[in-house]
């Protein structure tokens, strides 16, 4: 019997653990799940006879060492900053490792040692990063086989609420980490268009969105991520003329969110004076000029040159940002106050279902020198009790674990799933659970 050790049982990990347990009989596996909360670990095992739950604390290095020594492979679903701890023990005891996180510098530094020991440390094998890499590489391989030259690549992903449950004027609910949503886009977005580097500072980001239609799901808008160029080499697109990666929202979101950005209400670097005794109306007013007569609403509309009867202002009213209701947060930053209000209003209810939307657009020149465009799109909605996010993050990682355990992935070192031997079997199996990319070709 081979042993798999899963560290961390939070969020999307239950899908991963269920997959491993469902496959444990056939493959003769035993799955140990360690979490700071024994209860959460137990829940994820659900009394399966090939599973065991333990209390696990990453700060207890002796425990980590002992567990990793005795297992056959490690899956780290810990917060990304902790992966290097199991990774070091994996080197020491010669165990393979899978994570769904971005490769940190600390992890990348273990590449040579992993290779020397014949190990694979496979990372970024969730949704984004994960399915985005794999689905992109699949299309790129196909186009290359046809003799095409890819000149442009645009890729957008969004975690949203499924249409049936999309019932607020923002067309957005928190299906994932609220803080990341409030802080999204801070810094400078960098990408290239027609061979030229382009930079968008944060305060202009939400004004420069692209309109994007995905399958029969209607219109979305996409804003650029900070790091559009990060995977240029990994994708083999060093000479691509246009490359942009971004985040999807429903149309109209960015224009309204931009009001918070313009006012300065997403700032997380200082505390709002007396936030505990302030109301939301006073909070927004502290970003507007003093005026003895004009209302907060009218001052806002004038300041940002927005019609007072616009849908943007309606969205803000719906949120309650103009309400004289106490904030009640001690020593809070603007971003924290805003997040509290949004968490009240953008609630993802128990009966709600989420949706993942991903679209890649490849511009290319055929070997007959024709300019073409290929769109590869994918939408998946959540199921009862299991979010689309959990499915799409947990399943690829679980399949990767299976393939490694079965010896079907031969490559070694610190990797992301950009090689056919990794992404092809994972994508094939993902198709069976509904992760199906629809390709559409057209002249460009």
């Amino acid at each position: 019997m081979k042993k798999i050790l899963v560290l961390g049982a939070g969020l999307s990990t239950h899908v991963l653990i269920k997959y491993l347990l469902d496959n444990s009989e056939e493959n003769d596996w035993f799955v140990t799940v360690g979490d700071l909360s024994l209860e959460i670990a137990k829940k994820s095992i659900n009394n399966h006879n090939r599973g065991e739950a333990i209390k696990f604390d990453i700060f207890d290095e002796n425990q980590a060492e002992k567990l990793i020594k005795e297992t056959d492979m490690v899956v780290s679903m810990l917060p990304a900053r902790f992966h290097h701890i199991p990774a070091e023990f994996c080197i020491k005891f010669g165990k393979n490792l899978v994570t769904a996180s971005y490769v940190s510098e600390q992890l990348q530094a273990l590449d040579a040692q992993a290779k020397e020991k014949g190990l694979i440390f496979l990372n970024e094998v969730g949704l984004d990063p994960g399915i985005d890499h794999m689905s992109t590489m699949k299309v790129l391989k196909k186009l290359k086989a046809q003799g095409a030259t890819v000149t442009g690549f645009r890729s957008f992903t969004g975690g949203l609420v499924a249409p049936k449950y999309d019932n607020n004027p923002w067309h957005y609910k928190f299906t994932w980490n609220p803080r990341n949503v409030v802080m999204a886009g801070q810094g400078t977005a960098q990408f290239i268009v027609n061979g030229k580097y382009k930079y968008i500072p944060y305060h202009k980001l939400f004004e420069r969105v692209d309109r994007i239609n995905v399958l029969n799901y209607g219109e979305f808008e996409g804003y650029a991520n900070r790091d559009s160029l990060k995977y240029r080499s990994a994708y083999g697109l060093d000479n691509v003329q246009t490359m942009i990666r971004g985040t999807l929202r429903r149309t109209g979101y960015a224009k309204t969110w931009n009001i918070f950005v313009q006012l300065g209400m997403t700032d997380d670097t200082y505390f709002v004076e007396n936030s505990e005794k302030m109301t939301y109306r006073e909070f927004i007013n502290s970003y507007l000029k003093y005026d003895p007569v004009k209302s907060v609403e009218n001052k806002l509309a004038e300041y940002l040159n927005i019609p007072p009867d616009s849908y943007c202002i309606y969205r803000l009213r719906w949120l309650g940002i103009f309400d004289d209701r106490p904030i009640g947060l001690k020593k809070a930053t603007p971003a924290q106050i805003l997040q509290q209000l949004l968490e009240e209003k953008w609630v993802f209810e128990k009966e709600d279902r989420d949706m993942i939307v991903m679209q890649h657009v490849f511009e290319y020149t055929t070997k007959e020198n024709k300019k073409k465009k290929m769109t590869s799109s994918f939408v998946i909605e959540g199921e009862e009790d299991t979010s689309a996010m959990a499915i799409t993050v947990g399943t690829p990682a679980a399949i990767a674990v299976k393939l490694i355990m079965q010896g079907k992935i031969k490559v070694t070192g610190v990797k992301i799933p950009t090689l056919p031997e990794i992404y092809e079997p994972i994508l094939d199996e993902l198709e069976t659970i509904g992760v199906r990319f629809i390709e559409e070709e057209s002249d460009n």
Copy 2:
């Protein structure tokens, strides 16, 4: 003979050193000036028989210790981050200290020890900080004596080019540290208006300027500093309803500078790709959308909604930001590229003279319950070979040294010049060299 040790002989220090030497005979002083450059130190002494120049390195703590042990008082004109080193030795050997810099936490921490030893460590006794504190306190004392209650305080200072030498469309030249000008205002400006805290993020700062007329020098515009509330307690204005401190420029500057801010060209946090081989035109174009037809100028005007024939665009053209001229800077941030261009164009020529402009506006209620306003304004132009900046930074510090040496300042501890026993004699003497505040009263 009493000994004064001046550490650092850069920038505005020559005015301070000349003052001390000019007064050395009468007071029986000997002045030692230490600088990393012996040449600069020698130049500042100018062969005076009561002065000596030495090579001084702040990283050689033995040298600092020996020098401070043997002197009677220390003036630190070193970069502010080094003041704590002489300060510690001043505590050890019981010497007074003067600096023109903001009080750091490290320095403030020596307050109790300084008091215990009967020493004064007097800081912020230059122009801004310095003359601003002193001139404010003088008016506040007078109003208090009249039984008035101060309800509002606005204070603006600018280092500009004198009108006769003001011959470029920006009405600005670098009379001081160029980097500080490029980075000015980054962060969030905080102040209070009618009892309410107000916040302005950087990307809105240059759109929210106040128009200010100063004496017969015409119109200026002021934008808020980050730290308007810093001196509320120090000035005894804890209950003031309005308080704002800011920086002055000539009218129109902020509107054009805001173009750089909006585009993102003042960012200092990332390197512009391939900056070495780029032209200025390509640099500004990297902040604008790709377009196969439109000119950079037209794209800019459209993006920021500025008439293409406006004076703003003329100012940019005059700078040469649209020129296809190579930047030639390796691995440069946007702010560094912009600074290089500005340093070429905003040159303060040898024959040019600078100008310091300061204005405080006090709103107050008289004891007869009348609402009044007092404006206290001051302008000084530079002299041949001596800038107004050097005069106004160096002279107050020099006078402070004299008063301390003469035993006329009795207070002890880490101080800034907000006490009458400090600011009154300094302001009196400053009047004799032309630092004269003009007060104007009116109904409010």
